[in-house]
Amino acid sequence: MERISTKQMSVLIIFFVIGDMLLFLPSNMAAIAHQDAWISGLIGLVLGLLFAWLIFEFSQCFPGLNLVQIHKQVLGTWVGGAVSLFYMIIMFHDAATQVREIGDFVTTQMMTETPMRIICILMVIMLVVAIRSGLESIARTAEVLILVFAIMFIAVILLLIPEAKLDRLTPVLEHDIPTLVHGSLFFIAFPFTELFVMWMILPNVKANEHLRKDFILASVIGGIAIFAIVLMSLLVLGAYLTEHQMYSTYTLAKKIGIGHFLERVEAILAISWLLCTYFRMVIYGYGFIKGIAELLQIQDYRYLTIPFGTLTFSYALVIAPNVVYFDSMNPYWVTWDFTYFPVIPLIVYLIFKIRQRAMRR
């Protein structure tokens, strides 16, 4: 049994929450709430943390069991298996999505002449190597790289402060409450709702009295980081540019220029984005492969890594014809995510409680 410490778990959560949202969130949110996207961000931060907490509490109702085992215990082998398979689909889909996003970003912004397949295959190789080395190695790698990530990320935010202008946020509260909540859905769904993947990892965390505190704290840190990015994006670029840029944060980093000696630091941002997207991808991939192994009662999930790599690579290419189509799927994806977190676990929890009561009688 692989064991990771709570500190390593927190690091994985921080990477997971920030993930690919570092690049996509500002434009998604500004497209709906315009200059009020930061208020949407605040609403989303509060609701998202509530979701993160509920996700943690749900897993604590079933100590030591992962997602597949929970469903098997509560719903039985067949129904539980079907529900778990439904979760495996989104994990696989999301892992392939991260690969595709990296491919799209690198080929449209940085290496325009390179075919996307090359970038995808490189990422898939890294994914396979990571999963094959096991959760402990993944967690240790994350623990080392979080420092690099934190320094680069904070540097980008600090260097942007001279460019920020508060009047870009005016008029404040131009939009009504439903619009603000609508904008905040992206902030809740992609980073926080998808934390359900942690149900695959939590049973492997060494029990510790500050497990709950660390889980929530890590979500708070991740949430504040993406909130900072949304806010900076609005302050520096303004609502119009933010919502019309595909990768607004990347454009944002291009704005950094101090004197004539510190310029073109967008590569730093691209690297930090690649880092956190990579870890998000690895966590999804690990969750998927572990779940499939559990579902089909395979002793060692490591056997499945190579076929998983082939499958992820080809699925990442099939997933969408182009990046515009890909982006237009976000509203449906949000609803899809909400089925996975509040809806299905709520039903599972109710069935669990009813069965528990029936058992007592």
Partner: protein, 82 residues
């Protein structure tokens, strides 16, 4: 170029299978071998399809088909929500 990358992926997959599958079968792990084989064959088939540039329908179309009514219902319930 596409053919080269596809060929590389296929070659690596086949090579890995050639090394790993006999091991699994020797250890009498039939279930593992079956799952391994199925995943690899689906992966390789998809890889060939994308390699020769056949356009498959995106899996997102299923997502839209399922969730469009839900989203429309929410939009009707909360008018003015952007």
């Amino acid at each position: 170029m596409f053919v080269m990358v596809t060929g590389l992926v296929l070659a690596v997959s086949v090579l890995a299978a050639a090394v790993e599958l006999p091991k699994l079968i020797k250890q009498r792990q039939g279930r593992e071998a079956a799952v391994y084989g199925v995943m690899l064959v689906i992966g390789m088939a998809l890889c060939i399809i994308t390699g020769i540039n056949i356009k498959l329908p995106s899996p997102f179309q299923l997502l839209v088909w399922i969730y469009k009514p839900v989203n429309d219902w929410f939009a009707a319930m909360f008018p003015g929500g952007g």
